[in-house]
């Protein structure tokens, strides 16, 4: 292999550390620059480390977790996309944990005030996170459909396909929810029927059905459930992954779809809201455990270390969401452009 060819390959390998948008803009000149550096000094560990480190930084910037050079709108969209992906990952364990907390709470006669307060907080936060995510999904899907009808399908194809596949899988996995819910509407298993005049009972029934539906999804969290076939177990274990993939797909669509200006203005407040909600959830979760919430398991985990890892991840989510929100805010959004609009404005200015 000739030295020139080898240098080009090395440079191309290093270029892969950078995000695709960056590669598209700076890739050629960067590879040329690296080839000249290689010609002068073939190996240099410090140089390779520098390129890799800056590539990772560029990738973090691309997902809104580091100050990037993207236009203000793009930085905010990246922040929202990342927040949606994190919130989606958390939502499976959030609803499962909330349902257990609620059941423990409603099964007791005596409620210490901190336990009641933290259980109530968890209920409100989980409901709000679900509402916010549902609103985002509805807005994004509407915009995607509109853009598809306009014929601008190409940038949306991959994330739309992932969203449809994972969304279908999640609906398939949630298929038991209505079936479980039906008996509780009319009263079953010691639970009274649902009535809007008894909101406490309504929430307890929802918690019971949510727990019955989600317990299989978080197997390590809920020991002692009815034995399942290996295939079913594998499929169930894929739910958190599917939820994360769904969140990433929606996040990518947020960045690529044309969003009306008046809705785009809500991007930063939405990121701030998701950050605040995940932060409050974390505090309420810790508080619930500290104030005597669990009755059988420490942190609801059979393995203590698993509980600690989960706690750390739970704390990281609000920090990362808030960081992406603050970076988006620093960019002072003045105009909201997506990829297509940027290309269009460049063509017009040329």
């Amino acid at each position: 292999m000739s030295s020139d060819l080898e240098d080009t390959r090395r440079a191309m390998r290093l270029l892969r550390w950078y995000p695709s948008a960056w590669r598209e803009r700076y890739g050629e000149e960067f590879v040329d620059h690296l080839e000249q550096e290689f010609a002068e000094r073939h190996s240099n560990l410090g140089r390779s480390v520098n390129v890799v480190r800056k590539g990772v930084v560029a990738r973090l910037g691309d997902i809104g977790l580091y100050d990037s050079v993207a236009n203000p709108g793009a930085q905010s969209r990246a922040a929202l996309g990342t927040s949606v992906a994190f919130a989606a990952l958390m939502v499976v364990v959030m609803v499962d944990f909330w349902s257990r907390a609620m059941l423990v709470w409603s099964g007791r006669r005596y409620h210490p005030i901190p336990v009641s307060a933290t259980t109530g907080t968890l209920t409100v936060v989980v409901a709000l996170v679900l509402l916010v995510l549902a609103a985002i999904v509805i807005v994004v899907v509407t915009c995607v459909v509109r853009q598809i009808f306009r014929g601008r399908v190409r940038p949306l194809m991959v994330p739309s396909t992932i969203a449809v596949v994972t969304g279908w899988f999640l609906l398939y996995e949630a298929r038991f929810f209505p079936r479980y819910l039906f008996p509780y509407i009319h009263g079953a298993h010691g639970f009274q029927g649902m009535s809007l005049s008894r909101p406490g009972q309504l929430i307890a029934n929802f918690a019971q059905v949510t727990w019955m539906t989600t317990q299989r999804w978080v197997d390590f969290w809920n020991p002692g459930i009815a034995p399942l076939s290996t295939t079913q177990r594998v499929v169930d274990d894929c739910v958190p992954l599917a939820m994360f993939a769904f969140g990433i797909a929606i996040g990518l669509l947020v960045r690529r779809v044309e969003i009306p200006q008046r809705i785009a203005r809500l991007v930063f407040p939405t990121v701030a809201l998701l950050g605040a909600l995940s932060g409050v959830y974390f505090v309420a979760y810790v508080g619930w455990n500290l104030f005597g919430g669990p009755s059988n398991y420490d942190f609801f985990f059979r393995d203590k270390w698993l509980g600690i890892v989960y706690l750390v991840l739970l704390g990281l989510v609000p920090l990362l969401v808030i960081r992406s929100g603050l970076l988006a805010r620093e960019h002072k959004p003045r105009q909201w452009l997506n990829h297509i609009e940027i290309v269009r404005s460049k063509i017009e200015s040329a």
Partner: protein, 112 residues
């Protein structure tokens, strides 16, 4: 005063590299590698490629430099009027600090 959005303040730890790049481009248009060689010559500092290409887009997005038409794969960069103003302001501020430091060293420590 320059618009703070377009100054070097927001560049954080990259501000040093940004000054070197702006100073180099003040001498004429250059592509990445020529820029590194020039900085090496006048400042004795080697700008690693990752750092250079982290700072170039930031300077470009702030309107301090502009990318010219690529010559094959090499794309030269040019200092803008705004970039020249920011660099001049930075140098003036640094000169003030330099003069004060020198005067105090001379007075209190007898350094020439």
């Amino acid at each position: 005063m320059t618009d703070p959005d377009n100054s070097l303040v927001g560049l954080g730890r990259n501000a040093g590299a940004a000054v070197l790049i702006l100073s180099s481009l003040a001498g004429g248009d250059k592509h990445g590698y020529a820029l590194v060689k020039d900085v090496e010559e006048f400042a004795g500092v080697h700008l690693p490629p990752g750092t250079l290409y982290q700072v170039l887009p930031r300077l470009e997005s702030r309107g301090l430099i502009v990318a010219l038409e690529a010559d094959e794969r090499r794309r030269p960069y040019r200092l803008t009027a705004q970039g020249a103003t920011v660099l001049a302001e930075y140098i003036t501020a640094q000169q003030r600090i330099l003069k004060t430091g020198q005067a105090r060293l001379k007075r209190s420590w007898s350094f020439a």
